[in-house]
Symmetry: C2
Subunit: 334 residues, 2 copies
């Protein structure tokens, strides 16, 4: 069953040395034509597959790239990974995935695993609970390049790829205002996420710009769980003057919030409007989707992230920190 065909075996059967076999398989010019042919032939007959581990040991490279993100099941991330995997394969790398589940401890753990595992580089989208970046400093100390995407840590010396969420939030809020909706709530993400601050900043900017006083009760944080979103949305609706529109942290939050609205008999895009981030593909199947969503192009983000990472892996000497801002786009639905 097992097939431990090694160069040594081929060498033994042919009465030559391992180095000859190695060179023959690489078509090294210093090996005679006859010998080369015999080696290739026998290798094929014995189903020889070079041992990648041995080669990695010699080359001090594994051609493995680790990817750490909150949830594989969120389409935003699976789309990004899909793009990452695509580029990786085309460049001869493999992708090792680990999910943090938005849990700081688990993020530490899996990042450590990747280092122990011996990846050549790591791509990370931060867990929402992460407030401490020491585990990444650790990775840097080992000379393993990191690239952050979407949920980035801009205070670290690593490259990152993200969209200008503040600008996106500004566009989204402006759009909602342009519909004549002035009572706009913000169902924001957890305070640990930079993306949360940025959305808030955009929101505040627009409100100020239009001289609309900010209603503190309209601004709420959710921990991204369905339950918390439902609770916070309920609180918004219970307000004496409930919002006419809600800008949600992302489509998942929007959907969960919209469900609460429907349960209370509110008609989406009529009694209440939603704006959100991500523009997830399945929203196109909804009869009443969020009226506007900021597309963040996860495919492009993933692609850019791995390109930066591979560049960093293959040219460590020319490494320079880069911040790539992927253009976002306001998608208005029907």
């Amino acid at each position: 069953m097992v097939n431990p065909t090694t160069m040594k075996e081929i060498a033994r059967q042919l009465g030559v040395t391992v180095s000859t076999v190695s060179r023959a398989l690489q078509n090294h010019p210093s090996i005679g034509l006859r010998t080369r042919e015999r080696v290739h032939e026998l290798a094929k007959r014995l189903d020889y597959v070079p041992n990648p581990t041995a080669i990695n040991l010699k080359r001090r490279r594994t051609h493995n790239i680790g990817v750490v993100l909150p949830f594989l099941t969120e389409q935003f991330f699976s789309t990004a990974i899909s793009a990452i995997e695509d580029v990786a394969i085309s460049k001869g790398y493999s992708v090792v995935v680990m999910q943090s589940r938005n849990d700081y401890e688990r993020e530490r753990l899996v990042v450590g695993n990747l280092v122990k595992h011996g990846v050549d580089g790591i791509i990370v989208s931060l867990a929402s609970e992460t407030q401490n970046n020491s585990h990444f400093l650790e990775v840097n100390k080992h000379g393993i390049p990191i690239v952050f995407f979407d949920r980035v840590a801009r205070n670290l010396p690593n490259s990152c790829v993200y969209v200008d969420v503040t600008a996106g939030a500004i566009e989204a809020v402006e759009f909602l205002l342009s519909l004549g909706l002035s009572r706009i709530a913000l169902l924001n993400g957890p305070g640990t996420l930079q993306a949360t601050d940025e959305r808030l900043k955009g929101y505040v900017t627009v409100m100020n710009r239009h001289g609309i006083p900010i209603n503190r009760a309209y601004v709420r944080s959710v921990n991204l769980s369905k339950e918390d979103t439902a609770k916070k949305m309920g609180e918004l609706l219970d307000l004496p003057e409930p919002p006419q529109a809600v800008l949600a942290f992302n489509d998942y939050v929007a959907l969960d919030a919209m469900q609460v609205c429907r349960q209370r008999g509110l008609a989406i895009n009529q009694d209440i409007y939603f704006g959100s981030f991500s523009n997830l593909p399945f929203c196109s199947y909804l009869e009443h989707p969020p009226i506007a969503s900021i597309e963040q192009f996860p495919h492009e983000m993933g692609t850019k992230a791995i390109q930066l990472l591979i560049a960093g892996i293959e040219n460590p000497e020319h490494f320079t920190r880069e911040e790539v801002v992927i253009p976002h786009k306001l998608i208005v639905r029907q």
Copy 2:
């Protein structure tokens, strides 16, 4: 920047041999307490991380598991991977993902990559276009265990995990009939997929059971692309006597087909009903979801698949082919 601290370096600084360092780090009893402590101390000071590649080479194990499936972006698969990754981590393995994009050639390629990569085992959900399994025989020849899940190849000597789709189809069709709908169409998958046959078998079984003649025009195959689904659904609606209900290959097909219906002014769950497979979570956000869906429990499938695989990796001598049938469940909505 780079940190190539090796045992050799530790040994040199401490004036002992590498074997002593190795044993000290493993807390081998034959190493004196004093020496052991000094080694541990220095190792920590130098940020020593054992080189996994070297260890893998010695142990002839990489603790890597390859997973090949059509699309990471389909929630059914990302849920399965998520479960796989979870178990993998808890057992000390890492997951390398590759998507086949339902393309036979790409499947061959990535399976080959995984072998070259040196994974300890592979989990596969077949590409819809795959009609030839020689690439898996190749893998078997190298003694690398494989476990198939969901889209399985039952003619190979490998274990597999799947749901009884035929039984699911039977339940779904029976349910549609119980609603008084007798003109039921089947928007099936590609003929290369075993799952397609099984759905057909279930469909035929119920129709025969109820003495309903099978209308050949009601049974169509789609290649799972949105366009093809739209085309075939359109053809169904153009029939002189269009179906009252459609059993779709999965939720994606159902959604694409439903969209065509809506565009033609048909009300879902009123003018036409849909049954499908997968019960994707986001269907719960739809106002008019497919009335019934067969839940296939991707999380359980993934979990079972990797358990079988790891068992096969760790006890190759007791390997026995297993076919695990995960119980499905008919979900009726609202």
